[in-house]
Symmetry: C2
Amino acid sequence: MNKQTTAEKIRTNSAGWMIKMISSRLDSNIKQELKRLGLDLKQFGVLMALLEEEGLTQTEIGKKITLPGYATTRTIDALEKKQLIERRTDERSRRSYRIYLTDKGHATGPELFIIINKVNKNLLSVISATERKQLTTILQKILSAGFA
Amino acid sequence: MNKQTTAEKIRTNSAGWMIKMISSRLDSNIKQELKRLGLDLKQFGVLMALLEEEGLTQTEIGKKITLPGYATTRTIDALEKKQLIERRTDERSRRSYRIYLTDKGHATGPELFIIINKVNKNLLSVISATERKQLTTILQKILSAGFA
DNA sequence: TTGCAATTGTTGCATTTGCAACTTATAATG
DNA sequence: CATTATAAGTTGCAAATGCAACAATTGCAA
């Protein structure tokens, strides 16, 4: 097996590369869908985290969706400016905020679910039910193992 | 099933989200490894494409690794400055270049393979051989179907 | 309780990114 | 041919990003 073949095999057959390819297409699909809501991917992530659980601190949100602190600050700034979320003071600590969805923020929930379901459906449409099950199991296994 | 539960299920159980999570960890793992070579992800991608096949045009490279034209230009600028690749004139067309690895560029090949193998191995280490096979099959199926 | 360390969040600034406009060159069409 | 359309690559500029430094607060340990 020469170097040429090796490189091609790596690029087209390795799980890592394929996952990166699929992920970047997922991103552009979601971005496309989010455009009409005027949201970007990070804002989408923060909203999803808050739809799951409100009253989180910024650090907690960042941990949930893997966003560094400075990016969390700015994303929350943007969402607050759009009046989708609000910072409330934390009674227990004066150095952190508790983040809540506004009514307007709650209202975006269904739209976000539609988007994520649509993209997921599209992603999974070409594989069988059995394979879907397998894929989910495997991905969960990788993630729950930490993968770091 | 209330909204809370739905959101959590989407974030933690949907294939799309999980793939995005894994992909972002792959990126940071690779980035980490590339640091000591002084390369970034895009430069890594271009080098991989050229290790697979030399003499491509910039557009062809971009298509192979999903990089927009302007980014391809800049990445190739950077790699040329590092003397890892070179632009050669295309005899067939004066508006495109043919890109080749320099000796120094060829020499990075083995190091890149080591990195990608290491990251892949790490990714797949927690799943069984059967699951690895399943995962590869499924990912290939999704990609070959176009997924757009 | 005092002093040091760690946490939480923000921000200045340099680098990177992405869009759109641009140049040059080739292809297509009448 | 002449004209128009398309393609390949580059670049200016505004916006987004990431690092590192920062202020403010809290925890901890002597």
